[in-house]
């Protein structure tokens, strides 16, 4: 079968690999229909932290083609969403809804060779990991698939940012960052009742339309201290109740701290790179820092009705579709910000 392989030095290619197969009796094999390319795949692509060669991709949906003897809740033929980390569904962390901390969990392409930008993948702990969109496992309408694919990672990540922040009705919320996660966080903040949503540090003009479509009331193209000043001019209180930090750099956290009001919250969902917070700076203002890696699986059940009814369309973050054969072009386009996010049609 064909799978995308990262070869180091900003190079990916579609290579021949061994067919996906069952290893443990709790495994399934998923025949992949669509996959996404994630901003975190770019970290790998740029050589930060990944081993080459390794298979890549962790946002994918498709149809179950094989199941192990101990898989009970999933059947061959089910159309499923595959969260970006697998989880057993039974450990204390899974039961709490924090599947990303599953004691038996792992990441595609890292803890097993299989990954999502491929024709198929082995899925460990299929019962705990896979989510059907309908109880009978039927395939959803094609128009819904991009939005359903976002539930594997990108939209649930933006949603986790907003949920963790504890957004209340009436809040002024600033989202820092205009990538697909930041845009998802705008949509999530509006869903949770934010009154006024400001997208700050939105330097890519081709992202502004989607930011507005997702509910941004205001777009600030500035970064850093200029962005802080711009927020002071916009909100009645001169500061944000909540800042959703969707960049992960030291500068963006400093901007977030500058914008948030006393007693407010900064929530983050991208892996922070070189971000050290001096708590003495937050003490006098009682600012909370929360967030972390999103337990996508936990949120799918509550978000499925919103997607299936069409009341939200998070799949709009995919601004261009590529055949799996064109995966290298998809990475190059994302890396150069020619698009917001690539949708990979596998079959």
């Amino acid at each position: 079968m064909k799978a995308t392989v990262y070869h180091g030095n900003a190079t990916v290619s579609l290579d021949d690999v061994a067919d996906a197969r069952l290893v443990d009796p709790t495994d399934a094999v998923v025949s992949i229909e669509y996959a996404g390319v994630c901003g975190s795949d770019l970290w790998t692509y740029r050589g930060q932290g990944a081993v080459a060669p390794s298979r890549i991709g962790h946002e994918f949906v498709g149809t179950v083609s094989q199941i192990g003897s101990e898989v009970h809740d999933i059947s061959v033929g089910d159309w499923v969403i595959v969260p970006f980390r697998w989880s057993d569904g039974t450990c204390a962390n899974c039961r709490r809804g924090l599947e990303t901390s599953c004691v038996n969990g792992g990441f595609w392409g890292r803890h097993i060779p299989d990954a999502g930008q491929a024709q198929a993948a082995r899925v460990p702990f299929a019962d705990g990991t896979l989510v059907k969109t309908y109880p009978d496992g039927r395939r959803p309408d094609a128009a819904l698939i991009p939005s359903l694919l976002t539930l594997s990672d990108v939209f649930t990540t933006g949603y986790h940012c907003a949920v963790s922040a504890g957004i209340n009705h009436g809040d002024v919320v600033v989202i820092i960052g205009d990538g697909a996660v930041g845009l998802s966080a705008i949509l999530a903040a509006k869903m949770l009742g934010a009154q006024y949503v400001i997208n700050a540090g939105s330097t890519h003009e081709n992202h502004h339309d989607l930011a507005e479509a997702f509910g941004a009331d205001e777009i600030i193209t500035a970064r850093g201290e200029q962005a802080v000043e711009a927020v002071r001019g916009l909100s009645a209180d001169n500061m944000a109740d909540i800042v959703l930090e969707c960049v992960g750099s030291a500068q963006s956290f400093e901007t977030a701290i500058g914008m948030v009001r006393p007693g407010g919250t900064i929530s983050y969902v991208g892996l922070p790179h070189g971000v050290s917070i001096d708590l003495a700076k937050l003490f006098a203002t009682n600012v909370t820092i929360t967030g972390g890696i999103s337990p996508a699986h936990h949120y799918i059940a509550q978000l499925l009705p919103e997607v299936l009814s069409g009341s939200i369309e998070p799949g709009k973050v995919y601004t261009r579709e590529y055949a799996l054969d064109d995966i290298a072009q998809a990475y190059d386009d994302l890396d150069h910000r020619r698009i917001i996010k690539p949708l990979i049609k596998v079959r």
Copy 2:
């Protein structure tokens, strides 16, 4: 009148100063009856950050002796609790219940000369700052006064730690630190429904009885990695749902991070000294960092009934009473941990 003055180099003395007087029409003057010495006074005493000479003390109660022409809710003769920071009661932060961020607030002995370990003090924004224990302003029973005094700072600080952490019924809660704030946090955690309360890093044996009286189910004398290991052996989940960090050192935060479960919360209420948190360490486990300086004023109304009914006795943290004349001895005893916390009888 007499007031305690910090002269630098671990020296305080009771000096003659000008009588407390009204300056602004929103001021009152309080004739002080009892005062406390706070752990944060020791930072001053040890020369960290304070200007000498300066008057000192920020936990006090007493009777209103004068009011300005624009004071409406407080009358001469009212017996009042004075929170450790004054606040106007009307700004956006005060209305939110975050009086420590009052835009017109300030600290005793720093933003005005007056402070609490003295015979009297000027109180700015008397209506916003002072809290009567009874609507008619009458003096409470003498036996209740130490506990009422704790509402000026120490108990409301421990309570803020527990409230900010969002303790739920059934939680396993670790309190790091065995000073008066840590002990107060034990009592607060139990009030909020913590199922199992562990006091870690409790190195002072003479504090153990009070820790148990306040509700500690387990006392761990170890610190650091040994304390982390001890917690793993005690809780069903092998980790704490919540850690209340009541020390403020880099080591104690590292211990807290080692103890808290995925998705758990670390709450802190002492000014962190040299504590820098690498967020990449919290990302994978979704640990929240919250807390900060306690808005004591905000909590007094909800805690008064508990104190007046005798259902809690936070005043037990005062383990020895001193006359104001003996203030230097009180500091020396606290500095050497001969006592948990000094109660100063002014008159």
